[in-house]
Amino acid sequence: MIHTGHTRNELSAGEPLIRAENVKVHFPVTSGFLRRTVRHIKAVDGVTLAIRAGETLSLVGESGCGKTTFGQALVRVLEPTDGRILYRKDGETVDLSHLTPIEMRPYRADIRMIFQDPFASLNPRRRVIDIIAEPLRNFGVTDQAEVESRVADLMRRVGLRPEYMARYPYAFSGGERQRIGIARALSVRPKIVVADECVSALDVSIQAQTLNLLQDLQEEFDLTYLFISHDLGVVEYISDRVAVMYAGRVVELATTDQLFSRPRHPYTAALLASVPRPDPRLARSQKRMRLKGEVADPANRPVGCAFHPRCPFATDLCRTEDPAAKDVNGTQVACHHAENLDLKGVTENAA
């Protein structure tokens, strides 16, 4: 378990380091010569989420649910259409949501990102040392000897041989490249790291190494992670808390234990039931919940609860009224019937 001064079950522990308030990211769909906006794709449609210092908060959901877009808004690759992103630095709170690129620069060192694709995210024309040192140089470390020693140190910490710093990325495997990406994220001693599907492109054995590394580094550098993933197995392993997204909104937010053992939202339960388990007897023993239909179209959100067309428990209330998030036994859940549903979580393997 990760020891960062608090235990998993203490929901109240840890101050929010960064807080998203009703963040919306809408992409206009244009058409015609004059590029008139005909409608909006509501990729993120009102997400409120507080990430506490030292925790790992995971954001899960299927493709198109807006988890990646939210991550990009948080690190300000994108500008949110609406809402606030409150970041606490040296006792003061700043709203990052509409800062210009120049105003944003001082915070770039604090809020870092690890990317999904270890190939596309490293410029093939630059040497490893230049890649890792780019943020260092941008934030004032210009002495070549110091840059070299710090890059060597970082490479050692992420498990790469410092002798390779003069090489170009094409000589490295996917797992090694992801380590380079991690070293780059950590080179300026960030506070928050947004890891967007950072292990999903890796092989299982490399994935395990990388996850262990992320945990070690969290302890060592006192990091806060926003871990974006579609892989619930990985999420359960690494997170303190988990937020489940569907159609641009958070439908359930709980501690990892609670979410996996006692999901409150039908979508969470369906997700958990769909994960293939590496245990043949278990996999074949139970008849599990299956979802019909397709993920909601963010350009054409269903009326009422966005999940109702696929939900086996949907009632007329769900079809007309959008559920607000409420607290059910410590879980934040946006479902009209959360209190009354008895949903199955995952239990430990029988083996």
Partner: protein
Amino acid sequence: MSTTSETPVLSVRGLKTHFHLREGLIKAVDGVDLDVRRGKTLCVVGESGSGKSMMARSVLQIVTPPGRVVDGSMMFSRDGGGSVDIAALDPTGKEIRAIRGRDIAMIFQEPMNSLSPVHTVGDQLVEKILLHHKIGTKAAIERTVEALDRVGIPDPRRRLAAYPFELSGGMRQRVMIAMALACRPAMLIADEPTTALDVTTQANILELMRTLQDETGMAVMFITHDLGVVAEIADEVAVMYLGQVVERGSVEDIFYEPQHPYTLALLASIPKLGARHSTGKRLTAIEGMVPHPLNRPTGCPFNTRCPEAVAGLCDRADPALKELRPNHFGACHLRDPQHIKSRNPVEAGV
């Protein structure tokens, strides 16, 4: 679990597929033995670079040059008797083309790449049925509707006029499956068919494949890297590493009695849902990286990363795949009954 003595639909022996590159020889598939049986699913599991996809492509002789099947046999037995060695066929010849699509069908990870974007789903399916069967267009359309209905596409008659881009990923994969099964093949090769899909969709597709297999009794070769998927769908499993099958057996054997150190390590390295609190906090990772195919280690392919490797043995000789227990094969010196006997006669006797 014992398998019947009936002839497997596909029996691969000593298959080698090599790529002659300027930089050297890449042994993508290097001596693979396996059997795919009627009504059963064989899962071929491995990491990237294990040669699992290349092996599947070799079965249909669709390896792209400079790759070539250089050795081995692939006996394909049709239902009504009569078998043919696919390895001996000309990759561009008439016989193999008759087998592709009709007797052995294949589906891929990204259905968009195997569907024509400019033709409707209906046109493509009808064309395929007409190519392999001498029936009228009307009958072919009926069969198409039936095929789409069977793979759970709602309102199949209306979907005939849909273009692939109008369908979601899951629907496209269903169309691919319908297309693959339209000619009632004896065997289906599925190369990571659910990897690009979301979990909820994946669960539905896997369930569909199982149902269809029960209905048709076809043999399935399922290529995947995901052990969770293997546990869901496999009857038998072959674990590949660097172009070789290192362990082969029933799904129960592989998951509950794994023998090869690589299988053990692979199983230990996946995060298991619901298991976090009992097994502790760290995942057991396999050390190091998969060696580059041009830089294969001598001896056992896994010896550079194997926690049990014995110097002087594992880095010298390449272990052969041996039957360790009935229908459970492994390629490891340390699990070889002869080796155990010679090292520790007392223990082996117990």
